[in-house]
């Protein structure tokens, strides 16, 4: 059973997925599912408000292109600001995850 993602982590997941190469919304979803080994559950529609928010913030850029099955689709790619933000967020996440793991794995004080 895949787990629901933590609130606030969707943006990071999107940034990471987009950093692997330009992709449309559905592709980003598939990519996250694939790279997480199917462990994460994302509400599909919720992807879009997040995408628009990131676009307005200038972290990702969008362009209309043609999908693999020849339909018009909106492709997102990482901007320079997005790259920087991703780096920062990753560092932050790693620290957080490490801390969480340590704290929850503790057996004695």
């Amino acid at each position: 059973m895949p787990a629901s993602i933590l609130p606030g982590t969707l943006d990071l997941l999107i940034l990471k997925a987009v950093s692997l190469g330009p992709q449309h919304g559905y592709g980003i979803l598939l990519r996250i599912q694939q790279t997480s080994g199917g462990h994460l559950l994302i509400e599909q529609g919720a992807l879009y408000p997040a995408l628009y928010r990131l676009e307005v913030q200038g972290l990702i850029d969008a362009d209309w292109g043609v999908s693999e099955n020849n339909r018009r689709a909106k492709f997102y790619k990482l901007t320079a600001a997005g790259t920087k933000r991703l780096k920062k967020e990753l560092a932050h996440w790693n620290q957080f995850a490490e801390g969480m793991t340590l704290a929850l794995g503790a057996t004695t004080v």
């Binding site: 449309h24 919304g25 559905y26 979803l29 509400e43 599909q44 529609g45 919720a46 992807l47 879009y48 408000p49 997040a50 995408l51 628009y52 928010r53 676009e55 307005v56 999908s67 099955n69 339909r71 018009r72 689709a73 909106k74």
Partner: protein
């Protein structure tokens, strides 16, 4: 334009969002089908997995900041619904705003037309007035014809040219006898201003001494309505001007009044013979060449002006170029006055806003329940405040729209009325133009007003203290609403503002009365200006023999046509400027002034003897040490001529009423037919029926070139005109303020009685008499009024101190105004609250207690 673009962009983005999400669902469906699902099942699953498309679309729109737009639309719908639900309330609010914004818009229409709208001439951004200053920063900006030539020839690189123009009122004799406005211009006037004639030609430099005229469009319609006027003649005094051209309606010169025709500067003396000896001087305007910086042009003309051969007292130190792009120069004094007037009009709007804030507070109090409910259901406070504000701004916009309409109607009516009663005959004012500036201004006022009167009630009603419980009881003693104190304060503010407006209005009216009562030193009803065309000695003698005519005097400058021309004088080696007039021996008798010493003899007036009669103030000015001035000498004019003082007369007002009696007046002898400058006459009529006498005079004049005797009273009315306008405007504003305050007081008293039915019922049930209840309600109103007085009075005193600095002859403290206005306000308050108070007193205690 930008609004349209963003509107279309919004549509496009919405479509793209839809497409993108559809693509997602479609792609998911394809994948499911590819993995072996039944297509119908796949479509259902894909939609289910995605979730609600509209909901996510909404969320996406919010993410890119379109939420404000969307909410605004729903707020507007909400506001419109609110207004429809209580049409009476909406109508009252809109009516109040219409009045307040309409008054503001009307004033702004005038301001915009005169101060903001560019002049209708070519190259208006290169158009400058030349201002000069001599020693001691004395304004000195008039130039002789030869000096004007020097400018034109000496600064060709900087200036396209200079021109002069001055408008005067003259009596046209033929083709029809009437008062007319004529602008005298230099030869460069039409060329520089880009005036092209509709018929014939314009005036050029070659016409300087030629009796030719160019008609304006209105002059054409007035004098030669049905014929081509070119070649026709217009007679002014003894001169026949030949019409050489007609200007199109669009060319009206640089003044807001349209002259009937234009003639050359050189012909000015033929129009009006009030010039004393000496070369005439003209105010100048300059048209800079394109791309020339004003500073450079200033330096060039200043260099020329400092070389003018002038007496030391009139030497020019420096010239300035003042941009003149509108009818009125944007001068500090004008700006100060305009600010004061704007402040007065804004005050009316403020009163209206306070009023509406009150109404909204009252209404909001009955909506606390609804709002508390919405807050508890999760609406944010900011969101509700915004919704309430949208409603008030929407109402204000409607008020602004109606106000705009009211303004156009009112201002044109008032303007025409003012012009028709100004006492200036034959005045053609430019029609007021209603343009985008006025729309913008009204819209801005509407928006500001909406926020102003909406914000306070909105913040107040959503405040947590009021809405903690959704089950808030409207009970008698728990009902001590904070809005009530706020309402009292608002009312007090209104009273204060009305007080200020009314007192200022009262002061203006009192000053007008005072001006009406100022004694000029002679009888305005009995002394008549003959207004004849250079009357000859024979005509004057004939008039003198008419029954009812006591005395006739020929004079260079009839009193009350502005300040007497000044001349440099030299007395005991002191240089001083003195005002001078040339009169004959009958002048003092005509004005009924006793002469100390002796009067001129007829012989002296005929040969312009070197003797002078001076006013008392002049004597004190020249010989402050005292002693009789009779027999002493003073030198006058350029070159200086010595005159012996033979008589002293009392001070009179020869110039402007508001400047009071002449600071100096030197009367020199001269007589019609013997002295070039003596071209006018005054007549004293002592008769029970002056109209008969003037009719007889008119008949006598028809043999000559016509005349239009008018009592000096009429001329003085012209001088009082600006004061009358100011008093009328202040009166209207004060009345409006009073009305609004009365409405506000009534609304508050009424509401407070309604809300406190139970409290009052308890009072009555416990034995309070109706009189006590009435007194209590009225007492509350009086308290508001009292606070208003305390706030307003100091402000009044401050304001009148400021005003007294602007207009010297204004008396700023008038016990009448300071006493009458508070009484008026207190009485108004009592009347406004009498109804609600009576209703409170008549409450049936049992009934009101059983309610709810």
């Amino acid at each position: 334009m930008r609004i349209f673009r963003s509107f279309f962009r919004r549509k496009r983005i919405a479509a793209q969002m839809q497409e993108e999400m559809e693509f997602h669902v479609q792609a998911r469906m394809d994948d499911l089908v590819a993995s072996g699902m039944d297509p119908r099942e796949a479509a259902r699953t894909a939609r289910l997995e995605f979730g609600s498309v509209p909901a996510y679309r909404e969320e996406s729109r919010a993410a890119i900041g379109y939420r404000l737009w969307d909410e605004l639309r729903s707020d507007l719908r909400f506001a419109a619904r609110g207004l429809r639900q209580s049409p009476g309330f909406a109508a009252a609010a809109i009516a109040i705003l219409t009045l307040a914004i309409g008054a503001n818009g009307a004033f702004f229409t005038l301001y915009s037309n005169y101060v903001l709208r560019p002049l209708p001439v070519r190259g208006v951004d290169r158009h400058y007035a030349i201002e000069g200053y001599g020693q001691n920063a004395r304004a000195n900006a008039r130039f002789t014809l030869s000096e004007i030539d020097a400018f034109e020839q000496g600064a060709t690189a900087e200036l396209e040219g200079v021109y002069s123009a001055g408008t005067i009122q003259v009596l046209v004799v033929a083709p029809t006898q009437r008062q007319s406005l004529v602008t005298t211009v230099s030869g460069s006037y039409f060329r520089l201003l880009g005036g092209n004639p509709a018929l014939g030609r314009t005036l050029t430099g070659a016409d300087q001494r030629e009796p030719v005229a160019v008609l304006s469009d209105s002059g054409h319609r007035r004098y030669f309505p049905s014929i081509n006027p070119v070649g026709q003649r217009i007679q002014v005094r003894g001169t026949l001007f030949t019409v050489v051209g007609v200007m199109p309606p669009g060319f009206t010169g640089i003044e807001p009044v349209v002259p009937d025709f234009w003639v050359s500067n050189g012909m000015r003396n033929a129009l009006r013979g009030d010039a004393l000896d000496g070369e005439p001087r003209y105010a100048l305007f300059a048209m800079l060449r394109p791309g020339i910086a004003p500073a450079r042009a200033e330096a060039a003309i200043s260099a020329i002006a400092t070389r003018f051969a002038r007496p030391d007292a009139e030497r020019i130190a420096r010239l300035y170029l003042k941009p003149q792009r509108t009818y009125l120069l944007d001068e500090a004094e004008l700006t100060a006055v305009a600010y004061i007037v704007f402040a007065a009009f804004w005050m009316v709007l403020l009163i209206a806003c306070a009023n509406l804030a009150n109404l909204y507070l009252s209404r909001a109090a009955s909506r606390t329940h609804e709002i508390a409910m919405r807050l508890s259901l999760g609406a944010s406070r900011v969101r509700i405040i915004r919704q309430l504000l949208t409603e008030s701004v929407f109402t204000a916009s409607l008020g602004a729209a109606f106000g705009c309409m009211l303004a156009t109607l009112a201002v044109n009516y008032a303007y025409r009325y003012a012009v028709s009663t100004s006492g200036v005959g034959g005045l053609v004012m430019l029609p007021l133009v209603f343009d985008w500036r006025i729309l913008l201004y009204s819209a801005a006022l509407g928006g500001a007003a909406g926020i102003l009167f909406g914000l306070l009630p909105a913040v107040e009603i959503t405040s947590p203290s009021l809405t903690q419980s959704t089950k808030r009881e409207q009970s008698a003693f728990a009902g001590r609403l904070r809005p009530r104190r706020l309402r009292d304060l608002l009312i007090a503010g209104q009273v204060a503002a009305s007080l200020v407006l009314l007192i200022v209005g009262g002061l203006l009216i009192r000053n007008l009365q005072r001006l009406n009562g100022v004694d000029p030193g002679y009888d305005l009803q009995r002394v008549f200006d003959l207004r004849a065309d250079q009357p000859g000695a024979a005509l004057l003698a004939n008039i003198e023999h008419l029954p009812g005519v006591t005395s006739v005097s020929s004079v260079a400058r009839v009193p009350l046509y502005g300040g007497l021309p000044t001349q440099p004088a030299l007395v005991d080696n002191r240089s001083i400027l003195l005002a001078a007039n040339v009169v004959d021996q009958a002048y003092f008798a005509t004005l009924a002034l006793p002469v100390e010493g002796r009067n001129f003899t007829i012989a002296e007036t005929r040969n312009a003897a070197k003797v002078a009669v001076i006013s008392r103030k002049t004597a004190a000015l020249l010989w402050p040490a005292g002693g009789s001035p009779i027999g002493r000498t003073l030198s006058l004019g350029e070159p200086a001529v010595a005159y012996q003082v033979i008589g002293v007369v009392p001070d009179v007002i020869s110039g402007w009423f508001w400047q009071g009696k002449d600071r100096s007046a030197v009367y020199l002898p001269g007589a019609a037919g013997y002295n070039e400058s003596v071209r006018s006459a005054i007549v004293r009529i002592d008769s029970a029926n002056p109209n008969e006498v003037t009719a007889a005079i008119r008949r006598l004049c028809t043999d000559a070139t016509g005349c239009e005797p008018a009592p000096l009273h009429e001329i003085s009315a012209l001088q009082r005109f600006p004061f009358r306008v100011a008093a009328a405007v202040a009166g209207v504003l004060g009345g409006l303020a009073l009305l609004l305050t009365a409405v506000g007081l009534y609304a508050v008293a009424n509401f407070s009685v309604l809300q406190r039915r139970r409290e009052i019922g308890v009072h009555l049930a416990l034995g309070a008499t109706p009189l006590q209840v009435t007194r209590r309600i009225l007492g509350e109103a009086w308290r508001c009024v009292g606070i208003g007085f305390a706030l307003g009075l100091p402000f009044c005193l401050l304001l009148s101190q400021l005003a007294s600095r602007l207009v010297v002859e204004i008396r700023t403290f008038d016990p009448g105004a300071y006493l009458a206005v508070p009484i008026l306000l207190a009485v108004t308050a009592t009347i406004a609250c009498a109804g609600p108070a009576r209703r409170a007193a008549r409450l049936d205690p049992m009934h009101s207690l059983r309610e709810e």
